[in-house]
Symmetry: C2
């Protein structure tokens, strides 16, 4: 089942999506909700970020090839994570499917995509075992962890290298029914395939991350966990359009534009 | 003026606080709001975290003595930040005044307080100059950036070293009228003064941080910026009670308890 968050006539709501028909609900898909009786055509509404999470989690590095290729680019030895230490991203940076990623005027040319599977949490949980971990997952969406590599390496934190406004496209919707083991992540730049990898070939699995995280922290409905990316990205410039496809979910498309100084 | 967020009779609301009288409002203090006509005695309501921020910012290191003393503890040379790179904390960790800080059963003995001034943002802003920066500040509250130093140093991120559940006490209320240059931060452990410093003796000032941050990111109403701490903390154990006082704001008090394994 697909759930979208959308705006129309000055209000924002959730709705289920069947073909091109949006059936609006009051409330949130993972909570108490009811149909409002209103239906819309998908083309008539504005897609919003599927959720503004209470906490925005991100695995960061979680695929072997990404670590090897990033290390090679920098001329250093690859360092693999020893355990599932979760990281964070910032809500200010979220933008929806179709919205521009605005590259700041003083950014270097080292602007990259990272196509990622996003786990959306559906209930409040703590102390989940690995075998129970998937029971808190409501569904999945797509994220593009846009990164300015010079700032990412040179700053003390990821504040502008990863979290400048518009650097975190997420969407277009939440899909509740997926086959993770069959899923592929495919990124296209201006229509040309740039990378393709098996989405679930992670160093630390989704249930492992959730079980480790919930030893120390409570997950809440609407929290998101971005699971990391594989491979590397060409440098992106003004006018590029990046599609992140996750088979079984859909395509997250965002144009990249450079801000004028 | 003091604003509290509180619960009573199954609902959570904001109210202004005069002496012991809470005058309830609908809406948020920094937005459209109106009195509901209800008043409460402070003793009859439960204090809640003053705000669940959209993004939870934290300066991390922003006082000279803290950097020198932390370096001395570790036997390394102090490293001062070269610029105002903002960091992050996680909403799952927030607890209100009076609530327990629960030290996880497998934590080491290196659990420390960090008493901090918290800036609460009142309006949506970007590209503020340093001279205009304070115009977006709604008020101030108090934070205790509780840290498990072994995890803070050994993990790849601050996820459990800084952001385990209950590690971020914030409150008790938001004070809109303060004299920053006169303000002192005083931390007491079990009633005995442990540290005292001039709150505004920061390496990078509040307006400098805000102007740098808003070059790249939008601040939203309810966002918080924790400004860092000075000095160091003794190791805290089961049964300790920590008061963080900021003169002109109030006292944030939280008992520390160790979880049974």
């Amino acid at each position: 089942m697909r759930w979208i968050r959308f705006s129309t006539a000055g209000r924002t709501a959730y709705g289920s999506l069947n073909g091109d028909t949006v059936t609006e609900i009051s409330g949130e898909p993972w909570g108490t909700h009811a149909p409002t009786g209103q239906q819309h055509r998908l083309a008539d509404v504005t897609l919003e970020v599927p959720v503004i999470p209470r906490t925005f989690y991100c695995a960061g590095i979680n695929y072997a090839k990404h670590i090897r290729e990033m290390a090679a680019k920098r001329g250093v030895e690859p360092v693999f994570p020893e355990k599932a230490d979760i990281g964070y991203r910032a809500n200010n940076a979220l933008v929806a499917h179709g919205q521009n990623v605005v590259i700041p005027a003083d950014a270097t040319e080292k602007v990259n995509y990272e196509g990622e599977l996003v786990v959306v949490i559906g209930r409040q949980v703590k102390h989940l075992s690995e075998s129970d971990a998937m029971s808190c997952v409501f569904g999945y969406t797509i994220g593009n962890d846009v990164s300015e590599r010079t700032w990412q390496r040179g700053d003390r934190t990821f504040w502008r290298g990863k979290n400048a406004d518009t650097f975190k496209p997420m969407g277009p919707w939440i899909e509740t029914d997926v086959d993770l083991d069959a899923m592929e992540t495919i990124v296209r730049v201006n229509g040309a395939e740039s990378i393709r990898f098996k989405t679930n070939d992670m160093i630390f699995s989704i249930p492992h991350y959730i079980s480790q995280m919930t030893k120390y922290l409570t997950l809440y409905p609407g929290d998101v966990i971005w699971m990391g990316t594989d491979g590397t990205s060409p440098d992106l410039t003004d006018g590029d359009v990046v599609d992140v496809e996750l088979t079984g979910i859909g395509v997250l498309r965002n144009p990249f534009v450079k801000a004028r100084g």
